[in-house]
């Protein structure tokens, strides 16, 4: 249904978070959510809560690391950064997504 925002599956949100961290460097949870919304052109329905779940998952798998720090306007926040394992995982996932999109595109075009 056009116009409605897309619901995201777990795995896809994880990839988006990794990509965000890979391109923007260290970022806190709120910032990551804002960035994903921006980049997706506000087409992604993002509950802040799901971000936290995703961040915990990624942490457990060792793809991102976390640290408490201060933001530019002197607020305390928990900052996340991507790890080396995370980068290789991101590369693999990105390749997988591109293939998937390509195949789906072709099939749906018939």
């Amino acid at each position: 249904m056009p116009g409605q925002k897309l619901d995201l599956l777990q795995g896809t949100l994880d990839v988006m978070v990794l990509q965000t961290l890979a391109s923007l460097g260290s970022l806190h949870g709120y910032g990551i959510a804002r960035r994903i919304e921006q980049v997706s052109g506000d087409q992604v329905l993002l509950n802040q809560g799901t971000i936290y779940a995703s961040l915990v998952r990624l942490q457990q798998r060792g793809w991102i690391s976390a640290e408490w720090g201060t933001s530019d306007n002197n607020r305390k926040a928990k900052f996340y950064s991507i790890t080396k394992k995370g980068r290789s995982q991101l590369a693999a996932d990105a390749a997988h997504w591109r293939r998937l999109a390509d195949v789906m595109g072709r099939v749906l075009a018939t």
């Binding site: 949870g29 802040q48 809560g49 779940a53 607020r75 305390k76």
Partner: protein, 432 residues
């Protein structure tokens, strides 16, 4: 971890408020917007908890709860599995206890390592020794502190007990006067034979075995000194052996000995030929090898001096070996049988579990789709198997304890399987 999340959410909330303010909202609006953004706090917390997983103990409890629920649902399977495992384990344990008792535990005599079994290589197949030869060996050897003997040819039911209750046929065992002292056992009541009682046609006395005393006389200590009618003649009970002394279990497996009577070592008993089974206690410092060497020489000397007697060729071996040697083949067979039973149990259980797994594939697929990792699924299955195994083990333990108790009280630990190993009754013990 929850607290960390709270502070993180609070921090991010503040950031959101700041940004909204920067964008031009009023403080209130900023807060409202930020709250909306942050979504349901509670659901955020729940998602967070789910994502980070439970500590090991919680998953264990969860697995156990699920296992029990599952097993109760499949009551038929569970019952069979536990029964199979329990019976297998119970039977094996019982048999192993028996074997352990018989084969591995040391003889119930004092310092059993010094006890030697002496048989006559020239007497086949019984390998018994003649009284005269025995006496010479005993008096002329330097390796043993003493030699004792018993009659290798008692007959089953050779002694008749009458008077004072139902008549019974009993098994009596003639033993030399020093037999018990060679073994190092003491009677628990009364005394042992004295020299006068070991004369030919001496006063009739008996020592009761523990099993017989318990069964026939209800463990009445007053029986000592009283008289019983054996083979139509009165005999005085002079003592009772302790429960730990089970003659048959050691020397005549498959049999049962009720009474001990004196064995005269005189020319009258000598006339019966090779009748004695001989044991000896090594002197400190002597070895079986040195004793064997001495006895081989002695045997020749004795026969040379006494050609009127049967030939004698003493062969020595540890009493341990003799006793277990009699038992060993049958017990080994028993262990093999038990091993086969356990194999069958395992095969059966595996089959049951396998069949069950096949029907649970759908369930596994759903659980995997819901997010259960491989290790979690494996852990779940493992928990099930372990619970089944433990229940089976408990049942097996109960059965084993019961089983060994029953076996132990079967008439003073007879071993039915070894019925073929019996003392032949060539010469009736009722001679004296």
């Amino acid at each position: 971890m929850d607290r960390d999340l709270e502070s993180e959410m609070a921090a991010d909330f503040d950031l959101a408020v700041d940004e909204n303010v920067r964008r031009g909202m009023s403080r209130e609006d900023a807060r409202r917007h930020a709250l909306i953004r942050l979504g349901g706090m509670e659901s955020a917390r729940e998602l967070h908890r789910e994502a980070r997983g439970l500590p090991v103990f919680d998953t264990l409890l969860q697995d156990l709860r699920y296992t029990f629920r599952n097993l109760r649902r499949d009551a038929g399977f569970t019952t069979f599995a536990i029964l199979i495992a329990g019976l297998g384990i119970g039977a094996s344990s019982t048999v192993f206890s028996v074997v352990n008792t018989l084969l591995i535990r040391p003889l119930p005599f004092s310092d059993p390592g010094r006890l030697v079994w002496i048989w006559n290589g020239k007497s086949t197949p019984d390998r018994a020794t003649q009284v005269g030869n025995f006496l010479d060996l005993r008096d002329h050897n330097k390796s043993f502190s003493d030699l004792g003997a018993y009659n290798a040819f008692t007959s089953v039911g050779g002694t008749k007990l009458t008077g004072g209750g139902e008549p019974e046929r009993l098994n009596s065992m003639p033993v030399s006067q020093n037999f018990f002292s060679v073994l190092g056992v003491q009677p628990q009541l009364g005394r042992l034979f004295n020299t006068d009682e070991c004369r030919w046609r001496g006063p009739k006395v008996v020592v009761l075995s523990y099993g017989f005393w318990k069964r026939r006389f209800n463990s009445n200590p007053g029986i000592v000194g009283r008289s019983v009618i054996l083979d139509d003649a009165p005999a005085t009970v002079i003592g009772v052996m302790p429960e730990s002394f089970n003659f048959a279990a050691v020397f005549a497996p498959g049999g049962r000995i009720d009474l001990f009577v004196p064995l005269p070592l005189t020319k009258e008993t000598d006339a019966s030929g090779n009748t004695l089974a001989v044991i000896g206690r090594l002197k400190p410092g002597a070895t079986i090898q040195s004793a064997q060497a001495e006895f081989s020489v002695l045997g020749k000397e004795i026969y040379a001096a006494h050609h009127e007697r049967n030939d004698i060729e003493p062969v020595l071996g540890p009493l341990d070996d003799h006793v277990s040697g009699q038992l060993r083949p049958a017990l080994f067979l028993l262990i093999c049988a038990v091993g086969v039973v356990m194999l069958i149990v395992c095969a059966n259980l595996s089959n049951l579990l396998l069949a069950r797994t096949a029907t649970r594939q759908k369930e596994m697929a759903i659980r995997a789709a819901l997010g259960a990792g491989r290790s979690r699924l494996i852990r779940q299955m493992l928990t099930e198997s372990i619970v089944l195994a433990c229940c089976g083990a408990v049942l097996g333990l109960i059965l084993a304890v019961t089983g060994t108790r029953i076996l132990a009280h079967l008439d003073g630990m007879n071993i039915p399987l070894l019925g073929s190993v019996q003392v032949d009754g060539k010469l009736s013990g009722s001679r004296w």
